[in-house]
Every structure is written in C-alpha cells, then in structure tokens.
C-alpha cells in the first residue's frame, strides 16, 4: 500500500516538473537546465514564508507566484536574446541560471538544511486498507492530481491553451492571426517556473531543503520527458507514473537497483521508440 502512495505522490511531483520542462521546450525550443533550481527555490521560498507567517498554505501559494514572476523576468531579460542562436547558447544560459540561483540561495539561506514542518491538518497518519499512511502524502497526491487536471483543462479546453498550442506549432502563423508570440513565450516560461515551484513547495515538508535538491530531481525529470516524448505532455504524465511507481517499488524491494532500472527504461526507450514511449504522430502539447 505504501508503495502505491509513495509512488503516486512521486509521480505527480515528477509530472509537475516534467510538464513545465516539456511546455517550455515545445514553446521556446529551449531545454531548461535551471528547472531543478526553480524547484529548489520554490521549496526555500515556502520555507521562508512558513518561518515568517507560520502558515504552510501561504507558503504554498506565495512560492509559485514569486518563482513564476522570476521566470518571466529571466525570459524577458535573458532567454529571449538567444532564441535565434545555436542551441549551445541556450544550454549555457540556463546552466548559468543554475549557478546564479545556487549562489543567491547560499547568500540568503546559508548552507545548512532547512525544514518545513508537516502542516497540522495532515500531521496525523490515517489508516487505509489496514496500513498506516502519512496523510500528508495523500494530500500531495490529491493536490498533484488537481493541479495536473487544471493544467490539462487549461491546455485542452481554454482559449489560452489554443494560443499556446498554436504558437508552439507555428509562431509566424500565430502572429499573423494577431497573437503576440513573445508574450506567450514569457507566459509559458513563467507557467513552467511556477509549476516547478509548486513541486518544490509541496515537497518542502517531506524532505530536508538543501542546495542539491534540484539536481537530484531534475535528472529524473529529464528521463520522464524523454520517455514521454519531448514536447508531449500526455506522454509526460504516463512516463511520470512509470518512473514514479518504478522508483517507489525499487526503493522497497531492490534499493541498489533503482538507478539501474530507471536508466534501463531510458535507454530502452531511446533504442526502440526514440520519439518517446507514448508518442503519437502529429500530436504535441
């Protein structure tokens, strides 16, 4: 039972990050190496707000907003200058973001671990099918599912989604229909950054908050994005479930095999379905 709970909560966390990565790639053509750093920043800002206000919920609300704003700023001041250049410039730039964010984090919060207590509402474990489950994990699953659903509705059913999909597929034609594509790019980067920060903030009560936390998760996210198919958000949710559940099962039954299994899935995908395990022809975003 706890494998399922841990697996699902990990899956949704991975999806929040992978969805942002894949949206940003689809719209901007940029692989955002700094995505893990934004996730980490979400956790730190949540910690800061909790320290100041005593409320985790305010932290969960404020962290994504602040990081989304920061994302918009990053896109407007730096990223947009390198879209026309070779990919290597974009990689270097987002890599540069990591260094800046890491240094700023060190200056502001120092080097020692930070902790966010589990919110009082979910402090008690609950009994589910005979096993005791930390109720905060259940909250993470429900919350992750709700955010994912909202994201799908936004992309599939709203005017905003139509604009994002159109601008990702053919920026020139979208502009010829009056869409200000440079603003859409800013908005998509901000959305991706905000999603990463939601992931960081919601994880804050579960793990020690530290400088390396962005790095360990980003590798898994890249794997999810590659297995799901770059730019394919539907693929990303299935791939998140696959990797999340595989990891949770691995930790329980075969700890030393976890990394191996993950990379085996990755390599298998690249060998047999290089466009992604769940790629559908002609269908992106």
């Amino acid at each position: 039972m706890s494998i399922l709970i841990i697996g699902l909560s990990l899956s949704f966390l991975l999806f929040l990050l992978a969805a942002g990565l894949t949206l940003i790639f689809g719209m901007l053509g940029v692989i955002n190496f700094a995505h893990g750093a934004l996730y980490m920043l979400g956790a730190y800002i949540c910690y800061q707000v909790v320290t100041m206000t005593g409320s985790f919920w305010i932290g969960l609300l404020v962290a994504p907003l602040v990081v989304a704003l920061l994302g918009a700023l990053m896109e407007m001041t730096a990223l947009r200058r390198v879209y026309d250049r070779d990919h290597i410039y974009q990689l270097l730039l987002t890599f540069g973001f990591i260094l800046v964010i890491d240094e700023l984090t060190k200056v502001i919060w120092g080097l020692d671990y930070k902790q966010v207590p589990t919110p009082a509402l979910f402090a008690q474990p609950v009994e589910l099918f005979g096993s005791m489950i930390p109720s905060y994990r259940l909250f993470v699953i429900g919350f992750g599912a709700a955010v994912s659903l909202a994201l799908f509705l936004l992309l599939d059913r709203s005017k905003w989604g139509i604009v994002i999909r159109a601008a990702s597929a053919d920026a020139d034609m979208a502009q010829a229909l009056g869409i200000d594509v440079s603003r859409v790019r800013t908005a998509v980067f901000a959305l991706g950054a905000g999603l990463a920060a939601i992931g960081g903030a919601v994880t804050a009560p579960l793990v020690p908050i530290e400088l390396g936390m962005g790095f360990s998760i980003i590798i898994d996210c890249f794997i999810v994005v590659i297995i799901g198919g770059l730019g394919n958000i539907r693929g990303a949710i299935l791939a998140s479930l696959l990797i999340g559940m595989a990891r949770a099962a691995g930790y329980t039954y075969a700890t030393e095999w976890v990394e191996l299994i993950t990379f085996a899935l990755l390599i298998g995908t690249l060998m047999f379905r290089p466009a992604g395990l769940f790629s559908v022809k002609g269908r992106t975003a």
């Binding site: 139509i162 159109a166 020139d172 010829a176 229909l177 009056g178």
Partner: protein
C-alpha cells in the same frame, strides 16, 4: 484612398533581393490580383504586407497610416489577414480551434462563426477533427475562414486555388466573390489568369521582384499577349 499599400518596397532574403522597389495598392472594396511565374516574388509581396518579411526600404501604409515598423501581430490587429500558400493549418488544433484562434484578438465585425459556417458548411460538420485531416480544398476553406474571423480590412490570399479540382476551384471562386460582395478588399495572388480574369478589378504582374505591369482587367484584356508573355514559363 487605398486600404493597404506597399510603396517602393525592398525585401532581401540574406543577400538575395526578392522585391525591388515594388509598389502595390488595394482600394476599398476592390479585388486586386497579383500574378507572376514561379519565384517571381508574389508570396514575398504578401509576406512584406503582413510583416513576416521585413522591409529593407520603402513603406507599408494601412488605412492612410504609415505602419512600416509594426510587427505581424500588430498588423493583424490593425486589419491585415494573411492566408498563406501552404495554408498553415494548425495540425495540433481541431478545425474549430483553428477558427477560435482567429477570434482571440477579438476584432469585432460582420464575420462571425455562424457566417463562416454558412459560407463553408463543411467546417461546422468537421469541427471536431484535427485541422490537418481535412482535404486540400477544405483546408483552403478553413484558412480563408480563419482569415475572415479576424474581421480584417483586407484579405491576402496566396494561390488559394492551386492544385485543387475544378469543382473546388469553382466553389472557392464563388466564395471569394461573396466575400468581396460584402465589402471586403482582397489581394489575390495567382500564377495564371484563370481566376483573376473572373474576379479581379485591377491586376499587377510581377517578375524578378519588380512590378512590370498594372492596370484594370479591361486593360489586361487589351494587352493580354504581353501579360501572358510576362507570366509564362
């Protein structure tokens, strides 16, 4: 006074010059055709009008205002609609979503979803399917309908009948006539005289990026041999 004009426009792709001091104007309620052979610079003229090809020299004038420096999205918002040669239907959007996209900028006017459905009923029937699953003729209808839903002051049509069956060409010709009868100014690009002779009030002939001939359709009839020499391969 013209609705849309390019004046002495120069356009380059890298070092190659694609438009040379090209001037063209479309007046209120007019259908103007631009004809020329392969690679003459017809599409480039339309791209220069909507801002997708930047002007190195010359001016773009819309409704009497100089709009040379504006971006494509700004030009679209001020009333230029572009229906490109390759149609550029969004494959990851449904037929209906392709149309909704055109309404996002919310230029109000006579063209509503109902009106374009009446003009091209197939777009209503096929609304839910992906845009790129339509036939060539249907995609052309979708591309035109999408342009109309931006309620433009002028509609730029790049070879709308190219590669389509005679019956579909007939249907599209009729649709253009209807659209124009409602007062819409149209700049129609074609490679041959077939459709322009039926629809256009005035015509321009382009070759090697320069406007070589212009006149009314009656003028063209009188000077037909020369024009045909200019556009033949």
């Amino acid at each position: 006074m013209s609705i849309l004009a390019l004046e002495e426009a120069d356009v380059f792709y890298g070092k190659a010059q694609a438009l040379q001091r090209a001037s063209i104007a479309v007046g209120q309620g007019e259908i103007v055709s631009l004809i020329g052979r392969n690679g003459a610079g017809k599409s480039t003229t339309l791209k220069a009008a909507i801002g997708l090809a930047p002007l190195r020299a010359g001016r773009r004038v819309l409704g009497g205002q100089d709009v040379t420096g504006l971006k494509p999205s700004q030009l679209a918002r001020r009333g230029i609609a572009f229906v490109p040669e390759d149609r550029r239907i969004f494959a990851n959007l449904s037929v209906h979503e392709n149309l909704v996209l055109a309404q996002v900028m919310d230029r109000r006017g006579p063209w509503t979803m109902d009106r374009v459905w009446r003009l091209f009923p197939v777009l209503k029937d096929r609304g839910a399917q992906p845009g790129n699953t339509l036939s060539g003729g249907e995609q052309q209808m979708l591309a035109i309908a999408r342009g109309l839903l931006t309620n433009p002051a002028v509609l730029l049509l790049d070879e709308p009948t190219e590669g389509l069956a005679p019956l579909v060409v007939e249907q599209l010709t009729e649709a253009m006539r209807t659209i124009n009868a409602e007062g819409m100014a149209i700049l129609l690009v074609e490679q041959n005289l077939r459709v322009p002779m039926k629809l256009a009030h005035r015509q321009y002939v382009i070759d090697h990026g320069a406007m070589l001939w212009s006149g009314t359709t009656a003028d063209l009839l009188a000077d037909r041999a020369r024009v045909e020499a200019l556009i033949s391969i």
